[in-house]
């Protein structure tokens, strides 16, 4: 935190940040969040047997589902994280990003173009890739890797400058490592299984990719931003520097080895499966150390959660994070996998981490940043802000509990060798309930977006008020 507090003051710090880039990325991220949510909801209607567009080729549920996952990765998360990094990186390093106008503008347009090309290719051209979370057609992947390299120099430049003066703040560790990991991960996951291997070898690479995109892109950016925003909002430092180090190095060492746990009992050699199980259980300890650090930071300031919605999003997400990782330490074992592999249990787990944790975190961070970007004191409506929070939180808990239960029903039904259609029929009540939870989450998102729109357009700015006073 040394640079952020010592260099002059608020005025100088605000000049470091390019507001337009933050606004653009966050707004696009939110738009894509709603779109991918809608896609997921549409797909869930197919499972309920009430799909509204049957027989239309380009709205086939299988294709819509790929937009849901690929769009969540590149449209929603990358946009949101990039926008928030544009806010946080210059502020904690004290230096501007490499180039705002040309590189920043080019990266913004490039990212939106890549997402739109993916949508057109998957829906209309029948061009997709059977790598989960890498559904982007393979000919688009070199462009994504190139974009990630630009992303690395854009945010690497201020971090290198800051690192020459003093040790980096925690956020800097996470972001530095992520800038190296992400292009390597995307290259590895999209090219090696297609061009340099097949079958079990490809499966091992693909599973490593699925997990590394979560563990080595989404997680480090998200934790890095948490380490920045939480102390800023609470106006006090993190509880323990030592635990921050432990959490980071634990994640860096164990996370990349987790991937093969996606294919336990598969034809991948067992030593790789065992190492993945071991590393996954080990990561739980690293995660717990991070959580202890955040909870102890909260100690004495818990009443802030009552009125500060952004902080509440962050701590809700953090608790969901710990639940997900705790759950993971158990269901990653070969015994649990006998029952829950290929079931909705996994889908519930994925939604709790992606929506419940990372989704909630970026929504909280964006809600903290957004009024400041437009010179407003607060969000437009406290009611909409609270309403969105509760709809999203209850919605995602409902979906998680529902799908976890559905997963157990399916798993035991399959073991019981009942006719296949039984497992479909038994799942239907759960799938209906999942769609209802989806409606809650979508309504929450729309309310959240409406509040954003109103904050940006309506009401007096802080500057105008000050001038009148």
């Amino acid at each position: 935190m040394a640079t952020a507090t010592s260099t002059a003051g608020e005025v100088q710090l605000t000049n470091l940040v390019n507001y337009t880039l933050v606004k653009l990325h966050v707004a696009m991220g939110l738009i894509f969040f709603i779109i991918v949510g809608l896609m997921g909801f549409l797909y869930s209607l197919q499972l309920d047997g009430i799909y509204p567009f049957p027989g239309i080729e380009f709205l086939s549920p299988g294709r819509v589902r790929m937009i849901h996952t690929a769009g969540a990765a590149y449209g929603f998360l990358v946009n949101m994280f990039t926008g928030l990094l544009y806010w946080a990186v210059p502020r904690f390093t004290g230096y501007k990003v490499l180039n705002e106008k040309y590189l920043g503008g080019f990266m913004f347009i490039g990212l939106q173009a890549a997402v739109l090309i993916t949508v057109v290719a998957i829906l209309f051209l029948g061009q997709a890739d059977n790598v989960e979370w890498g559904e982007t057609p393979w000919w688009l992947d070199p462009i994504i890797v190139a974009w990630l390299l630009l992303h690395a120099i854009q945010f690497g430049a201020p971090i290198i400058k800051a690192s020459q003066k003093a040790p980096l703040y925690v956020t800097g560790w996470y972001v530095s490592a992520m800038l190296v990991w992400t292009p390597l991960v995307v290259f590895m996951g999209n090219f090696i299984p297609r061009f340099w291997s097949a079958g079990s070898g490809a499966g091992a690479v693909q599973s490593t990719f699925i997990h590394d995109l979560v563990g080595l892109y989404v997680t480090p950016v998200a934790w890095g931003l948490m380490y920045y925003f939480v102390p800023v909002i609470m106006k006090k430092p993190m509880w323990s520097h030592g635990l921050s180090l432990l959490g980071f190095w634990g994640l860096a060492f164990f996370y990349p080895m987790n991937g093969v746990h996606h294919f336990l009992w598969s034809p991948i050699p067992m030593f790789a499966q065992y190492s993945a199980v071991f590393a996954t259980v080990a990561i739980e300890f690293a995660v717990t150390s991070v959580l202890i650090n955040f909870m102890m930071t909260l100690r004495g300031s818990a009443e802030v959660l009552k009125y500060n919605v952004p902080l509440r999003y962050m701590y809700t997400g953090a608790i969901f994070y710990w639940i997900t990782c705790f759950q993971c330490a158990f269901h990653v074992t070969l015994t649990f996998q006998k029952v829950i592999h290929f079931t909705d249990w996994v889908t519930g787990h994925a939604h709790l981490i992606m929506f419940g944790t990372f989704g909630m975190w970026v929504l909280g961070m964006a809600e903290y940043v957004w009024p400041r970007l437009f010179g407003k004191e607060t969000m437009y409506s406290k009611g909409m802000s609270e309403g969105a929070y509760w709809l999203l939180t209850i919605g995602v808990i409902a979906m998680f509990v529902d799908l976890t239960a559905a997963g157990l029903v399916q798993g035991f039904d399959w073991i019981g060798l009942n006719p296949w259609i039984d497992s479909v029929n038994f799942s239907k009540p759960f799938w209906y309930f999942r769609s209802v939870a989806g409606i809650m989450m979508l309504t929450g998102l729309l309310m959240y977006a409406m509040n954003f729109y109103k904050t940006a357009t309506a009401g007096k700015g802080l500057e105008a008020q000050l001038r009148n006073a």
Partner: protein, 224 residues
Amino acid sequence: MGKMERFPFIVLVAGLGFFLFADFISWALPMFVLKDIPMKKVSDLAAEAKAKNTSAWADFERLAMYYPEQFKKYYGEVNEKSFEKALRIGHHWYVAEGCWNCHSQMIRPVSNETLRFGIPGVSNTVSYPSEYQNELQAPVLWGTKRIGPDLIREAAVHNIDWQVAHLYNPLTTSPGSNMPGYPWYFEKDKNGNIVPNERGIGLLTYVMWLGSWEVKPTKEWALK
């Protein structure tokens, strides 16, 4: 401790070092262990199907017999070349349509999966590495979720007539199913009958090829 908080140390140790170590354990070493399994191209798979006269080859001949007009138009004669073309087209649309979002292609040695999906009379029907070592499993199609059943032994489960009806409208063959219909894999022939088109013949060939290497063709499979 200060060193661990500097950019070059983090990038070299965590960013590159740990990452490469993990990749070595997770997939480079497994690939090395599996390196002696021959890698098959689609043309090899076609040659194998013909040479062993597998059920997939018989089904391909059956498609040519059922739909002569479309088959001639899109694939010409029944030979290795056209079988290869059908497998490629079928695999492409299996991937593009997201079939792998709901159907896995892996039988695990646990949870009675060999009983449910295995082939009666074939002793070892659990998934094994060599059956995936081909061009159509790059990237591998194991899948992550089962809404519908596993398909890696599909050749032994249903016949081609069932598959055609099921692809057009799954409810006709599987009441209660929530699989969508795929009418765009069909067209009308000159008599006005609804028949599979180029993509449809490819997809049916691909699905009936899955597991055909384990099925022993019986006499009644042969065409007159």
